[in-house]
């Protein structure tokens, strides 16, 4: 199951007069769709920035540059710096094994990789409390050695790795499956080593999907709230990530500051969507190239 923004492929079908609706019906449907999206997406998007800048730009800058906000930004970036590269390494390994080889239990493995999408974020945090927190299996050993995982950055990083686990693998697996193994086989036959083949043949082919997966995983890692909330302990300036900082400000009725920090994350979300459109275009190009190579002419819509 896709709990994230999958890349899409395909072109619009041409329309003829017998297969479309009357103009009245058409504009009615467009009106309904735009009203729904306007109410649910556009107005909230405008509201974030309107509320953030309500009391002027000076207050906005102050809110995003106070020490607690900066500490939250630092911790959030640290979390991303651990979680995303680890999940990228996993995504590459999983996609290589699944896409390039045939083995028993492959579909079951793909389902297991998707599992974190199906689990509530609160449970994603809870499981690490049950491992490393007070009720945890490793608690006696950890407390004896003075190692803190829960209510400390390591717990936040672990919970974030859990919730962003499938993102990069999910982008790479279908693309590498569609690309097949012929190019790699050719490189190996010509005498390239395994690493060389991966580096010069496979990686350039999956570059854009990998970048897109990394950006998606980063966006989710920055924005994760439920899982991190369970393991953080909400200690200001030390275990607060950006979303938790927003929560504290909001609950203290510091609405302008809350929306100022929220607007930073909204800008990140908009950036993610822009990159998505760019990468979709790039991946489509790569897929078309691959299709020509494999002599396929029909579009692959089930992406």
């Amino acid at each position: 199951m896709a709990g994230h923004i999958a890349l899409r492929q395909g072109t619009a079908a041409p329309q003829s007069r017998t297969t479309t609706e009357s103009p009245v019906m058409r504009w009615l449907l467009i009106g309904i769709a735009l009203t729904f999206l306007g109410l649910m997406l556009v107005i909230p998007l405008i509201a974030v920035f309107a509320k953030a800048l309500e009391s002027g730009f000076a207050l906005y800058l102050k809110a995003i540059s106070e020490p607690d906000a900066l500490a939250a930004i630092r911790l959030t970036l640290l979390t991303v710096a651990f979680a995303v590269p680890l999940n990228a390494a996993f995504g590459l390994a999983a996609a290589w094994a699944i896409a390039k080889f045939d083995f028993r239990g492959k579909n079951f493995l793909i389902t297991l990789i998707d599992l974190p999408f199906a689990v509530s974020p609160v449970i994603a945090g809870l499981v690490f409390v049950f491992l490393f927190g007070k009720p945890g299996i490793f608690w006696p050993w950890l407390s004896e050695h003075g190692i803190k995982i829960i209510f400390a950055p390591p717990g936040i990083i672990l919970a974030t790795i859990f919730v962003t686990f499938p993102f990069i693998a999910r982008e790479l697996i279908p693309l590498m499956q569609a690309q097949g193994t012929t190019e790699e086989e050719a490189a190996l036959t010509l005498g390239a080593s395994g690493w060389k083949t991966f580096w010069y043949v496979t990686l350039p082919n999956i570059k854009w999907a990998l970048i897109y997966g990394v950006i998606l995983a980063s966006a989710r890692a920055v924005g994760e709230f439920g899982a991190v909330s369970v393991v953080s302990g909400h200690i200001r300036g030390s275990t607060n990530t950006l979303p938790l900082h927003v929560e504290i400000l909001y609950n203290e009725y510091q609405f302008v500051a809350a929306f100022a920090v929220a607007s930073l994350m909204t800008l990140m979300a908009i950036f993610t969507l822009l990159i998505k459109n760019f990468v979709e275009w790039k991946v489509n190009q790569q897929a078309e190239k691959a299709a020509i190579h494999h002599g396929q002419t029909e579009d692959n819509h089930e992406y």
Binding site: A33, G105, I123, V230
Partner: protein, 278 residues
Amino acid sequence: MLKQLLQKKHSILPGFGLTLGFTLFYLGLIVLVPLSTIFLKTLGLSVQQIWAIATEPRLVASYKLSLGASLAAAALNAVFGLIVAWVLVRYQFPGKKIIDGLVDLPFALPTAVAGITLTTLFAPNGWIGQYFAAAGIKVAFSPLGVVIALTFISLPFVVRMVQPILQSLDQEVEEAAACLGANRWQTFVKIIFPELLPALLTGFALAFARALGEYGSVVFISGNMPMQTEITPLLIMIKLEQYDYTGASVVAAVMLVASFLLLFLINILQWWSSTRHA
């Protein structure tokens, strides 16, 4: 060893053992072992004890809200998502590309941001909430607010499931229906809709599954009143804060079982969908 055990046919590509080994190790370490602790925590309990915890009145009230609000949100998204997908695939209008890109916003926007924004908009004095308040309807801090937040976070699923199917539909079938005297509505109901149904149901189930587990956006807009506007994930949080670890593990186990059943259902739906559009 892994190679001989699992691989179906020999391949000249290297790295099977290494990559599959790392994949399984990492999957076990990050996902499977941690998730198993939920069930390990409930092992010491008898079936009666588990039942007693899982059916506390406050929890039952939260199940009703979580299930009801998630169903309502998924249903809203099924109806409007179908219309949005239809409009985006079939019609031309100014700003279409931007609107199409914007549909994914709920997946990219942090849930806490969505939570505080929707709460501010739908509060009785908010931009949208004031009109509801004038009509005597309370949106924020009521179950209706929960439905709004869940509709927002699960909005892209139906659109993104239905869109590619609608794009790949063969227009000649619709032309044939028109030639045989069917009007547009008959063509839609008898020809197009059955083709879209598996994708629509998959999108509905994905939206429902996502809504069931959602926490970040809901806690702001619901007001979290016991027996009235508490969702099930919030009760895990509350039990954890009260150091009731057993209680938290039972609620989590109930939610996990529900998620696994949904995941199974979604896999069946996707398989059905793919066999139709093979």
